[in-house]
């Protein structure tokens, strides 16, 4: 028998956790200490390879880890204590599950002998987080810990990425056991995501693409998740085929907004040309998107005349909402590569000139039109000004959820992937500020801006304190209309303009609030002062709360009303009271 005291792989569970983080290349984690994770915090204190960012609320740790993950392509890591620490992670875990973000959460748990006893700060963490993680584990034996941690990283980052949680009771953190570096056998044999696409299906897809007269490429977050090669191949496919391309909210940046084949975002608040192209196309290539209900509109009228090709790594995304003709299961990058290879060898560039002429007519409708004003700042104008001021700079954008988010998607042009962090699936107000913290940690020298709403930003405002502590010069660009704008818009359009609880009666003074946190506050009212104020915001190398007072009753258009199809969009110039009333008729009359 060897002398175990000299075995470097003999260590406590707490030490194993830090060691596993290092072995997986983790350099930054986000967390909040508490009773059930103190042994892990003690290990963190005694090393310097993993930097810990102390947040002000566990939800902030989760969203920061999400922002970190989305802007780097690496998994984000959060560390929280048992009970309330874990329950506060439920929102970010669900958010990451909906948006397929690789997240590893390590939670402390009460000692194993107390589990089930209603001990102090005990909750059934694996039970609570089971439906909001890709997988989760409760580790009862320190000798299982290394295997579980390695599997957790593997599951989070492979296949369709997603959040995982490892719940570690305090006695397991204290116990000594044997650590081993990551190895293949750590993973369930039942987990084997498919990467390579079926060759027959790929040939069918190419045949459809080659014969298309009115094609469209509809890409999503899956392309970005797949990595830089998928983005490169998507761009090449657009170039080789000459096809128009639109994308989901999650997919912005995979194809550059300045590219000549770009139609803008599609869906409920997508552009007229993108939605009409989707509706009238004869061949649709969906890459790494999932026919979400914000995208399809009325499903039985969704792109009725088209043959649909769907590339997705998750078989459960196929035929979930929309029946497709050629499903291809596997990694986007891998399959795009195969499609391109077959296309270039066997097909010639289809003639889509007539189709582009049609698209040009739709584009001429100028569906993102808004009326500028000299007296009041229009929110769309504010985002355009921000875009112009940051164009060409090394910029990352996060958002909260609501009107400002849609305007950001419409008016901020993304040229590269991983530059746009927004809560798409779950729609989490309060996502953007902590996400910006995470992005700035990953990219300390870049310009990181949270395009925010005045309501959303107050949900996780406390993370300003984190930004100040770690000298993270994030910019919180608040489009302040003093309403929950999207709620108010729906109330106006659908509920007789009865603005039930969508007005913030007691708005804080954001400038004073910024100063109270030790940051910088800027307020602007007049369109003429906007550009100068934005320049000031960019040049300040400290966290900034930018209170941009905008028109309070502006609505977000164009819009597909509920129960309508893509070709029944409501355009801004049509959105007078009568047309709006007609578009939303059925339930309640409009005032």
């Amino acid at each position: 028998m060897s002398d175990k005291s000299h075995d470097p792989n003999q260590m406590t569970g707490a030490a194993m956790i830090v060691r596993a983080l290092i072995d997986h290349g983790v350099t930054d984690i986000f967390g909040y200490p508490g009773g059930a994770v103190l042994p892990i915090y003690d290990e963190i204190f005694q090393q310097s390879e993993v930097q810990h960012i102390l947040v002000r609320h566990e939800q902030g740790a989760g969203h920061a880890a999400e922002g970190y993950a989305r802007s780097t392509g690496k998994p984000g890591v959060a560390l929280v204590t048992s009970g309330p620490g874990a329950t506060n992670m439920v929102t970010p875990l669900t958010d990451a599950l909906m948006d397929s973000i690789p997240l590893v959460c390590i939670s402390g748990q009460v000692p194993t002998h107390l589990i089930g006893n209603d001990a102090f700060q005990e909750c059934d963490t694996v039970g609570i987080t089971r439906p909001c993680t890709k997988h989760n584990w409760l580790v009862r034996d320190v000798n299982d810990l290394a295997k579980v941690l390695h599997e957790a990283f593997y599951v989070a980052t492979t296949g369709r990425p997603g959040p995982v949680l490892v719940d570690v009771p305090k006695d397991v953190q204290f116990a000594t056991g044997t650590y081993h570096p990551p190895r293949k056998s750590d993973v369930h044999r039942s987990y084997a995501p498919r990467v390579k696409g079926d060759a027959t299906q790929i040939r069918k897809a190419v045949a459809l693409l080659a014969g298309a007269k009115r094609p469209v490429i509809y890409s999503g977050g899956g392309v970005i998740n797949s990595g830089p090669e998928a983005t490169r191949l998507l761009r090449e496919l657009v170039e080789v085929t000459g096809f128009p391309i639109t994308s989901t909210l999650m997919g912005l940046g995979a194809y550059p907004a300045s590219g000549k084949s770009w139609l803008g975002m599609l869906g409920m608040h997508g552009t007229y040309e993108a939605n009409m192209t989707m509706h009238d196309c004869d061949v649709m290539l969906c890459v790494g998107a999932r026919f979400d209900d914000r995208i399809t509109g009325r499903v039985d009228a969704f792109s009725p005349g088209s043959k649909k090709i769907h590339i997705d790594i998750d078989p459960s995304s196929i035929n979930k909402n929309i029946r497709v003709d050629v499903p291809i299961i596997g990694d986007c990058g891998n399959i795009l590569g195969d499609i391109l290879q077959v296309f270039k060898a066997e097909a010639k560039k289809p003639d889509v000139k007539a189709w582009w002429q049609q698209i040009a007519q739709w584009r001429a409708r100028n569906s993102l039109y808004y009326r500028k004003s000299n007296d009041v700042i229009l929110p769309q104008h504010a985002i355009q000004s921000l875009f112009e001021a940051t164009r060409g700079k090394d910029t990352y954008i996060t958002t909260e959820v609501g009107q400002h988010q849609m305007w950001a998607a419409q008016f901020y042009g993304f040229e590269e992937p991983h530059r746009w962090m927004t809560s798409g699936g779950l729609g989490t107000m309060g996502y953007g500020l902590p996400a910006a913290v995470g992005v700035q940690v990953a990219h300390p020298d870049s310009l990181v801006i949270d395009i925010a709403g005045d309501a959303s930003v107050q949900m996780t405002m406390q993370e300003m304190s984190t930004a100040v502590q770690y000298e993270l010069p994030i910019k919180i660009f608040i489009l302040n209309n003093q309403y929950m704008g999207m709620v108010r818009q729906w109330q106006q359009l659908l509920h007789g303009n009865r603005l039930s609880h969508s007005y913030s009666e007691a708005m804080p003074d954001f400038v004073k609030l910024a100063e109270a946190y030790g940051g910088v506050g800027i307020q602007v009212h007049k369109p003429g002062d906007l550009d100068g104020a934005i320049q000031e915001m960019i040049s300040v190398k400290r966290p900034v709360l930018f209170d941009c007072r905008v028109a309070s009753l502006e609505n977000c258009f164009p819009m597909i009303p509920s129960g309508k199809a893509h070709n029944e969009m409501l355009l801004p110039e049509q959105a007078n009271d009568e047309a709006t009333a007609k578009a939303f008729a059925g339930g309640k009359a409009l005032v």
């Binding site: 694996v126 439906p131 039942s190 078989p315 459960s316 359009l493 509920s562």
Partner: protein, 180 residues
């Protein structure tokens, strides 16, 4: 289309429902059943019958048999959603294979005297149910068969003094030499 004002596209689908029997091979580990059941309740799928026990203890494999109903699109979703769970090895739609055998076991308690008692025993014999407990005023029958047969037997016992029933739920296996 007349629908209430909503942020969602509210639509009723009228595809006819189908009943399918699914066999699911899983790693037998803590929480695996909760994951499967949570998937059904969380996504609004139906469970008509659920049977689970460890079938290969050396490999820690359990076999879950689920009878579910839904439109063809929903059934397809259920299979994919089960299949992508980390501890799930395989999902086989026994109904689609059209070559599966389904059995259920039920224990049926009947209380009665005189003619009812004789009739219950006679019917049990016709259904090849065994008597596994008897008192002067009751029987417990054990019956094995497919769901329809058991339902029919229980219906017949009702007027003869049916007290209670305990059923295992459906277990299914494919015909022929191959495993799932």
């Amino acid at each position: 289309m007349n629908q209430p004002a909503s942020a969602y596209f509210i639509e009723e689908r009228h595809d006819p429902n189908e009943t399918h029997t699914l066999s699911v091979l899983v790693q037998n580990e803590p929480g695996v059943l909760a994951r499967v059941i949570g998937l059904f309740s969380g996504r609004g799928y139906n469970i008509e019958s659920l049977t689970v026990t460890e079938t290969e203890s050396q490999k820690h494999l359990s076999r879950i048999t689920i009878v579910t109903t839904g439109t063809p699109m929903v059934i397809e979703q259920i299979k994919h959603q089960l299949d992508r769970m980390i501890p799930v090895y395989r999902v086989v739609d026994m109904t689609l294979t059209k070559r599966s055998i389904e059995r259920e076991l039920a224990m049926v308690k009947v209380r009665g005297q005189g003619e009812h008692r004789v009739e219950a025993l006679r019917l049990a014999d016709a259904f090849r149910a065994r008597v596994i407990d008897a008192t002067t005023e009751s029987f417990v029958f054990e019956i094995t068969g497919n769901t329809d047969k058991i339902n029919q037997f229980i219906d017949l016992m009702r007027p003869l003094g049916l007290v209670e029933v305990s059923r295992t739920g459906v277990a299914a296996i494919g015909r022929g030499p191959e495993g799932m």
